[in-house]
């Protein structure tokens, strides 16, 4: 039943994508400087979501 699998995949992809909230900043990107590495710090939405994910991981371990 391909349709059933397609629907399941669609539903799971939506659920996964919905975990990513809108960034809470409103900043335009600017080029990285030669000395600056890619962003590694947790900022705004990302910090909150990842903290929740880490908590859930620990709780389910």
């Amino acid at each position: 039943m391909p349709d059933e699998w397609e629907q399941r995949l669609r539903s799971s992809l939506r659920a996964y994508a919905d975990l990513v909230d809108a960034p809470d900043d409103d900043e335009l990107p600017a080029p990285r400087t030669a000395t600056a590495p890619p962003r590694a710090g947790l900022r705004g939405w990302r910090g909150g979501v990842l903290a929740a994910a880490a908590t859930a991981a620990v709780a389910s371990w």
Partner: protein, 185 residues
């Protein structure tokens, strides 16, 4: 007010830089409208919100540099292709670095897995998706999340429509097998 920050600054210390005239109103509107969907697309392809954010920022910077030459109607497609290519480039660089260094760099440390927040039913599907070859995963994400046609996926990935069709078919079959085996096991 919109402020430009360097995509390369770590540690949450953002230094505003001058935007000047290079970010016109239409591009800013596009950024506001497309940033989140592109971020979600990049997470579906990388499983890593930090990497996804960098890839999306780079895609907008690339568009901004070529803004005068890009048809506004094609701008979303341009961004989508930039994100897919950005993810590929990133992973290619990491593979090369791993081969040469034979050690894990800071960027190889996995971040917290967002998928642990999903219900078990959805998490199983996401975990199965991660086992697929890169192209099959790209095709399935663009087909079943971005809801693109075969022709649009072919254009985004730079492959033939027949390849899109066969990759989607093989990817779905692999997912079914993987999930079926899990259930049986």
């Amino acid at each position: 007010m919109l402020v430009a920050v360097s995509a390369g600054e770590a540690g949450g210390v953002d230094r505003p830089v001058a935007i000047g005239a290079e970010w016109d109103g239409a591009l800013i509107d596009l950024y506001r409208a497309q940033r989140l969907p592109l971020l979600r697309l990049a997470v579906l392809l990388t499983d890593d919100p930090g990497t996804a954010e960098d890839v999306v920022q780079d895609a907008f910077l690339a568009l901004q540099r070529r803004w005068h030459a890009v048809d506004p109607a094609a701008a979303v497609g341009y961004l989508r292709t930039s994100v897919v290519n950005g993810v590929r480039t990133l992973y290619r660089r990491r593979r090369v670095a791993r081969r040469h260094l034979r050690t894990a760099g800071p960027e190889d440390v996995p971040s917290a897995d967002l998928a642990v927040l999903l219900t078990e039913e959805h998490r199983e599907v996401v975990e199965a998706l991660r086992t697929l070859p890169r192209r099959q995963r790209e095709v399935l994400v663009l087909r079943y999340w971005s809801e693109l046609s075969e022709a649009e996926i072919a254009a985004a990935l730079g492959i033939a429509r027949g390849t899109v069709k066969s990759s989607a078919s093989r990817g779905l079959a692999s997912l079914q097998k993987h999930l079926g085996d899990r259930r049986a096991g």
